[in-house]
């Protein structure tokens, strides 16, 4: 006597619930085995028309919904343990749900982060996807954003600004050649959470967070939370070839890149004496990391400067929902 809701879950999501703790999605709850590790919990929601565009492919939406959470876990030094999914749907549209579930399942397998449970509800509004993800760290080992200290090197993973520039294309605010366009839009639609970097972050970083609302704004948040300031060498910020090409053409691309958000790279601070070990561990994990500045004393906003040491004033630091 399965209802429509149970049927939907059985068809699309039960195949993803391979972990014993998921209880085959036949129960009201799931469980995570206890143990010495602390459990890290993070939650992120995405809304149709706000966090993704209505025509975006369902599999990329699923991946993004999970990956933004995996990115938070990695930035806290946590290894994925599983996630729960809440879907608020206007209708049961199989042509949307089938690729959504497939994209989600692929990522859950790839990142070893199994679906544990969830809730499916109807809404007259935009499709809304909320994921709460769990990770494990050694006891007391969560890497906070409040613990940066003057002298720490500031390091980011990967490249900055690709997703924000991709979104600028999608919303018609920029133009570029086809190859650059595709690369940047791809980064917007499907971020690359730095799951592989989690252990190195846990081991070597003093403070960390993921870059989701723009590097400039997120760095300012990390500094404010730690009661410190920062000096950033804008010329050291790592950009992809596609982004670099756009930045060479004008200042606005630079501003979009460092304040636009959706990077899902890791921003962390590393004591000088641990930097080499961190870079080595990151290399072994296959993730590029780049020092871009230093934590300094004070409560001023982080100072950005160019190769000649001239201050760069950014018109806005990040994206806010309200």
């Amino acid at each position: 006597m399965p209802s429509g809701e149970d049927d939907l879950i059985a068809r699309y999501f039960k195949p993803l619930a391979t972990d014993p703790g998921a209880l085959g999605l036949t129960d009201d709850a799931a469980f995570l085995k206890g143990g010495g590790d602390d459990l890290v919990v993070t939650t992120d929601a995405i809304v149709e028309g706000v966090h993704y565009l209505i025509g975006d492919p369902p599999d990329t939406i699923a991946k993004k919904a999970l990956r933004v959470n995996l990115s938070d876990l990695a930035a806290k030094g946590a290894t994925p343990a599983g996630f729960v999914l809440t879907l608020a749907l206007r209708e049961v549209n199989e042509q949307w749900l089938a690729p959504f579930a497939q994209g989600l399942g692929g990522d859950a397998a790839m990142f070893h982060c199994p679906l544990l449970g969830g809730d499916t509800v109807s809404t007259p509004g935009p499709l809304t996807i909320s994921i709460t993800a769990f990770g494990r760290v050694p006891p007391g080992g969560l890497v906070k954003r409040t613990s940066a200290r003057p002298g720490d090197r500031i390091v980011v993973s990967g490249t900055i600004g690709d997703a924000a520039l991709g979104l600028a294309f999608l919303s018609g605010k920029m133009t570029a050649d086809d190859a650059a366009r595709e690369a940047l839009i791809g980064r917007y639609r499907v971020p690359q959470p730095r799951v592989g970097l989690a252990t190195a972050v846990q081991k070597y970083a003093r403070a960390a967070m993921d870059v989701s609302d723009g590097l400039a704004g997120d760095l300012a948040k990390l500094c404010a939370a730690s009661g410190v300031s920062a000096a950033i060498d804008a010329g050291a910020v790592p950009f992809s070839d596609a982004a670099r090409g756009l930045i060479a053409r004008g200042r606005s691309a630079f501003e979009i890149a460092v304040s636009g958000g959706d990077d899902y790279e890791i921003l962390c601070t590393i004591p000088d004496e641990r930097l080499d070990a961190f870079v080595k561990a990151a290399g072994e994990a296959g993730v590029a990391v780049t020092p871009i500045g230093r934590i300094v004393d004070g409560h001023a906003s982080p100072r950005w400067s160019d190769a000649e040491g001239r201050e760069i004033v950014l018109p806005r630091l990040s994206y806010s929902h309200f």
Copy 2:
């Protein structure tokens, strides 16, 4: 440099984040201390206009959003450990947020289930509240819905049908005197999760779930999941005085009561030899529990019968979102 979103969180939700694991809501994640216990995870979302009515008081909406999750934890035998909250808001309306946060904080304190983190996003659609809650059980101690066995007594907590009858009033489908009306609507708006019963369920129940989609349908689900059937004595089902008055007036109130849902009572199966101990433990926890039937062999839908043993055929078993 707090954005509107950070400001909103600092003002309304930081006061609720008293647990050290919440990190003062200044981080991207929270943590739960490890230990021998398994962690039980449950998630439930409620949507304006679907799960609550647009004019419902914000404090009762908050309480309901948390309590439906606490009910799931209790039914699994788990003691609350904390929760994360996702709010999808159309606008920042202080007149709505202030009482919402106050209602949520009151319940979090009362049920010892602290806010650990969350996400706040904007939506053009209905206000949507998603909560993922955590509880602890001894290792391997989660009480499933798949483990009922023939011979088990079927027991429910509290009274059945009040909330569904309350909703019937609110939506104009029924009339009654003012006192009954108030009592039933109150049960719809603010369910009473049986948190106090969790330890007894964990200790004595073989299978359990909470009644959220209607007793008849949820019992059928429990039986299907366990590969068994059930015989229910309809006359034994516990009703409040207010519900009993309505049921005496006609069959439709009975049908609404046993299939309407929103009860958030615990439905569990108890081996005969543990029934007395369970009833005693429930009494000590201050929760009434009532045996209403027995698990039997077979795969048929549960059979409901009246005092004379005549079968009662229910036109529908539960509420489905789709």
